[in-house]
Amino acid sequence: MKQKKICQRLIRWETMLVVLLIVLWVVFDLKDAASQSADIANRKRTIKDVFNLPNMISGIGPYMLYGFMALGMTLILGMGGIDISIGAIGAMSAAVMAVCYGVFKSAMNPSLALVLSAVCCLITGAACGLLNGALITRFRELFPMIITLGTQLLYRGLTYLLIGGKPIQYKDDTVWESLKMLYNGSIKVEYSEKVLKMAKGATEPTESYITSTMSIPNILLWFFAFALIFFVFLHLTKWGRQLFAIGTNREASRLSGVRVANFELIMYMICGITAAISGMFYIGSASGTMRADALKGYEMYAIAAVVLGGFSTNGGTGNIIGVILSMFVFAVMKKGMGTVFLLIENAMDLAVGVVLIVASLLPNILEDISIKRRLHRQHKEAALS
C-alpha cells in the first residue's frame, strides 16, 4: 500500500517537472564547467561561470513576461476552452495605456495620469476578454479557437489603428519610466562568487572570491504573488472546483446548479485582464517603448507553458504549481541554451517542440499501459477462477 503511494507520487506531473528542471540544470552546469576548463586550458582571461543561480534569477525577466498570460490561460484551459487572442489583447491594452497617458499627462499630475492609464489598460483587457467570452458563450456551436482567431486579428488591427506603424514612447519622462521599475529589480542581494584566475606562467588556476550583487526582478515577485492568488482561487475555493467541473462535464455542472455561461464569461474576462497586465510589463521590459506588433506569438508560449504544466486542453485537470514549474523549465532552457550552448533560439525551439509533444503524449501512453495491465490481470484472474 505504502509502495503504491510512493509510485503514484512519482508519476505525478509536478514531480516529473521537478526532475526535468534538475536534469536541465545539471546538464547546463556540467557543460558550463566543461567550457570553463576548456577556456582555462586555452589560457583565456578571467573566467566566471555563466550559468549559476544568481545570474539566472537576475536575468529571468524576459521569460516571465508571458507568465501572467499563462496564469490566465490556466482558467481557460481548465474549462476546456482556448483563447489565442491574448497576445493581441495584451498589445492592445498596452497601446491604450500609452495613448491614454499621452492624453492625461497634459491635463493632470503625471503620476495620477499613469495610474489612470493603467486602469484604462486593465479595463481594455477586461472588455476584450468580455467580448471573447460573450461570443464564445452565445455561439456554442463554434470552437473558441476560431472565434478568438477572429478577435485576434480584430484586436491587432485596432492596435495598429490606435498607434500606427511607429513606436510610441515618452522620452525623458520619469513617471513613464517608472514602468521600468515595475519590471526591473529593486531588491539587491549580495553574494560571493568564485572566480578562476590564471596567473602568468602558472599551470593551475587560482581560485578567488569576489562579492557581487544580484538584483531580483520585480516581475518575478509579481508573478509569485499572482500565482499565489491563482493557486488559492483554483485549488482552495468553490469556484475553482466549479471551473474544473465545467472542464470535466459542462452539461452535468450546469444541471447541478453552476451558472456555466456567466462563469465562463467572467473567466474569459479575467484572462483578458492578465493579458493586459502582461502588456503593462511589456512596456517596462521594452524600456517604455510600445510597438503595435508587441507580444506577437506570446499566446502560443503561454499555451505551451500551461500544457507542459499538466493542463489538458480537454479541460478538467491541472495544477498551478505545475504551470509555475514549467515557466521555470522554459526559462532555464532558454537561458541555458543561450548562454551555455550559444544557440539562442534555434535549439530552444527544437527542445520546446520535443518537450511539448512528449509532455502531451506521455500521459496517454501511461494510461494505455495501465489499461492493458489491468485487462491482463483481469484475464489472468478469470482464467484462474
Binding site: 476560431i146 482567431l149 506569438g297
Partner: protein
C-alpha cells in the same frame, strides 16, 4: 445534423417547389461570400476606377500560395482536426530545398518540388500519427511541430543553412514560378491544379468521401468499415504535403526565404477556410468555398492599403471583422433553418 435537416426539408413536397433562401444559403455557404467579395470589389472600384484591371493578376498571384495550403488545410479541418504548423513546415521545406540547391545537389524544378513535398509529408506523417494513434490534441501536436520545424531551420552546424537568397538559386527554377502563360503567372495554374486535384479527390473517390465521413461521425464511419485512424493520418499527410509544396512555390516567388518569414500565415490559411464556410468541427466544407475565401483574403490584402493609403496594417482589422461576421452569420442562419425545419415538422 444540418444536412439531415436539409434533406428532410427537400423531401417534403412544399419545400421542393418553393425556392428556399435559407436552405440555399446553408447549402452553398460560398454564395454569400462571393457577394461580399463582389461588394468589396465594387466599393474599391468606385474609389479607384482602374483597380480591378491593374490588380487582378496580383490578387490571383498572391492568393495562390495561400490557396494551396488552404486546400490541404481543408482536408485536416474536414476530419475535425487542425494544423497550425503549416507556416513552419513551409519555411523548413523551402530552406532545405534552397540549401540543397545552393550545394548543387538539386538543380531541376521537379527535384525541388519532390524535396519540398517529401519534407511536408514527413511532417504531416508525424502530426497525423501523434493525433490519431497518440490521441494527443491536434492543436498541441501541431504547436509542437511548429517549434520543431522552426528549430530545425537554422541548424547551421548540420547543413549550413541560415538564409536563402537569390544568389543561391539556379536559373530554371528561379524564373519558373512567375513566368507568364497567357498573361497569368504559372504559379496560379499550379495552385489551380492542386485545388482541382484535391477537390476531385474529396468529391469523387472513396477515400475522399471517407474523409467527410470520418469528420461528421467517426464512430459511424468506423462501423461502415472506414479505417478512421489511417484516414486521419492521410488528411494530415495531405496537409503537410501542400505546405511543403507551398514552401517551394514561395521560394520560387520571392527567390528568398529565412526563418520566421511566414510567421502567422497559418492563421490566414485557417481564415481562408473558415471564411469559405468550412466547419472546424469537421464533416462540412467545400473546395469552392476555400477558393473564394483565399481570394477574398488576398483581395483584402491588396485593396485595403490602396483604399486607406499606406495603412497596410489595417488589413488585420478587416479580416478579423469579416471572419467574425462570417462565422456568426453562418451560425445564425443555421439556427434559423433548424428552427423552421422543426416548426415545419410540427415540433
Amino acid at each position: 445534423m444540418s444536412e439531415m435537416n436539409n434533406k428532410a426539408s427537400k423531401q417534403s413536397p412544399k419545400a421542393k417547389k418553393k425556392f428556399d433562401f435559407l436552405t440555399f444559403v446553408v447549402e452553398h455557404r460560398e454564395i454569400p461570400l462571393l457577394a461580399v467579395l463582389a461588394l468589396l470589389l465594387i466599393v474599391v472600384t468606385l474609389f479607384i476606377p482602374t483597380y480591378l484591371k491593374d490588380n487582378y493578376v496580383t490578387i490571383l498571384r498572391n492568393s495562390s500560395i495561400n490557396l494551396v495550403m488552404a486546400a490541404g488545410m481543408l482536408c485536416v479541418l474536414l476530419i475535425g482536426s487542425i494544423d497550425i504548423s503549416v507556416a513552419a513546415v513551409l519555411e523548413l521545406a523551402a530552406v532545405v530545398a534552397g540549401v540543397l540547391m545552393r550545394g548543387g545537389q538539386v538543380s531541376s524544378i521537379l527535384g525541388m518540388f519532390a524535396i519540398g513535398i517529401g519534407i511536408g509529408i514527413i511532417a504531416g506523417l508525424i502530426n497525423g500519427t501523434l493525433v490519431s494513434f497518440g490521441r494527443v490534441l491536434p492543436i498541441i501536436v501541431t504547436l509542437g511541430m511548429t517549434y520543431l520545424a522552426r528549430g530545425l531551420i537554422p541548424m547551421n552546424f548540420l547543413l549550413g543553412m541560415e538564409k536563402i537568397s537569390s544568389i543561391d538559386l539556379v536559373d530554371p527554377f528561379k524564373s519558373f514560378i512567375l513566368q507568364p502563360v497567357l498573361g497569368i503567372p504559372l504559379i496560379v495554374y499550379i495552385a489551380l491544379a492542386v485545388v482541382l486535384i484535391i477537390g476531385l479527390f474529396l468529391k469523387y473517390t472513396t477515400v475522399g468521401r471517407s474523409i467527410y465521413a470520418t469528420g461528421s461521425n467517426p464512430e459511424a464511419a468506423q462501423m461502415r468499415g472506414v479505417k478512421v485512424k489511417w484516414i486521419k493520418v492521410l488528411a494530415h499527410v495531405i496537409c503537410g504535403a501542400t505546405a511543403g509544396m507551398a514552401g517551394i512555390m514561395r521560394l520560387g516567388f520571392y527567390n528568398a526565404i529565412e526563418k520566421n518569414a511566414a510567421t502567422g500565415q497559418e492563421m490566414y490559411v485557417i481564415a481562408a477556410c473558415v471564411l469559405g464556410g468550412v466547419s472546424v468541427m469537421g464533416g462540412y466544407g467545400k473546395i469552392t468555398g476555400v477558393v473564394v475565401g483565399a481570394i477574398l483574403v488576398a483581395t483584402i490584402d491588396s485593396a485595403i492599403p490602396q483604399l486607406f493609403t499606406g495603412q497596410t496594417m489595417m488589413t488585420d482589422l478587416f479580416k478579423g471583422l469579416l471572419i467574425l461576421a462570417a462565422i456568426l452569420l453562418n451560425v445564425l442562419v443555421q439556427r434559423a433553418t433548424n428552427k423552421r425545419n422543426l416548426l415545419g415538422r410540427g415540433i
